[in-house]
């Protein structure tokens, strides 16, 4: 038998569900969130999960990172490139528990240049991979020595 009480409980649950749905604008539905890519454990796997070809090293990507990072929890990195047509830049840390740190997508209104801070578990190569609109994949890399790891522990 259906009591008034569980009817109320059910409609409350439904209302909460509707509210949650309404609060999510379509734009923020994180369409295209690539969970698989963020779980990869090597550079090759990451590139494959992102659907990218084997990258070619390029001198036109200016990648800045410290030679030695005393604190692996906060490693400042930056990349900028004057190459035309770069639409995306991905950061990969070769020896982190998960390789892919992040992917940035640029529109024509911004310079293809970004600075951020990442965590590193141990000394590793860090790659900045630039992807152009016509599918060229280029990269620059640098080894960062880490004195104190920043990935839990």
């Amino acid at each position: 038998m259906q009591t008034r009480r569980d009817l109320l409980a059910r409609s409350a649950a439904l209302a909460a569900l509707l509210a949650a749905g309404a609060a999510a604008p379509a734009r923020a539905q994180s369409g295209g969130w690539n969970q698989a890519a963020f779980e990869t454990k090597s550079v090759d796997e990451s590139l494959k999960a992102l659907g990218l070809a084997k990258p070619v090293e390029s001198k036109d990507i200016v990648f800045t990172a410290p030679d030695i990072a005393e604190n692996g929890a906060v490693v400042p990195i930056g990349v900028s490139t004057a190459l035309p047509g770069v639409k995306r830049i991905a950061f990969l840390v070769e020896k982190n528990p998960t390789t892919l740190a992040g992917v940035f997508e640029f529109t024509d209104a911004v310079e293809t240049s970004v600075k951020t801070r990442i965590k590193m578990g141990q000394t590793s190569n860090v790659l900045a991979v630039a992807i152009t609109g016509d599918g060229k994949v280029l990269y620059a890399q640098k080894e960062v020595k880490v004195t104190l790891g920043g990935c839990g522990g």
């Binding site: 923020a28 690539n34 963020f38 740190a101 940035f104 997508e105 640029f106 024509d108 209104a109 600075k115």
Partner: protein, 103 residues
């Protein structure tokens, strides 16, 4: 609700430089708490930046971004008074929106 982002946008030449400091723990999912239980991953995974409402830049992040993530980038064309908006969504579905006026 998390703390507001700190956004600074300054005109530089014909463009502008935008700096954003977010407030988020960015748990990797690898850390253990005092009782030895793993702390589940919890991080910002989607970030979008707009100029007067038009898309500028989008980022997808894993847990390897530092706690309280920082982002700096440059705008090609901007004028004082334009509005920069930043939105993020984390892995628990929490979101935050903040704006600033380019100065």
């Amino acid at each position: 609700m998390s703390d507001p982002m700190r956004i600074r946008a300054q005109v530089q030449g014909s463009g502008a430089v935008v700096r954003v400091l977010m407030s988020h723990d960015m748990e990797t999912g690898l850390r253990k708490d005092a009782a030895g239980r793993p702390v589940p991953a919890w991080h910002i995974r989607d970030l979008s930046v707009t100029l007067n409402g038009a898309a500028l830049l989008r980022a997808r992040w894993g847990p390897s971004l530092s706690r309280n993530p920082y982002l700096q980038f440059g705008l090609k064309d901007a004028a004082g008074g334009d509005v920069i908006g930043v939105d993020w969504t984390d892995t628990r579905g929490a979101r935050r929106h903040d704006e600033t006026v380019i100065g």
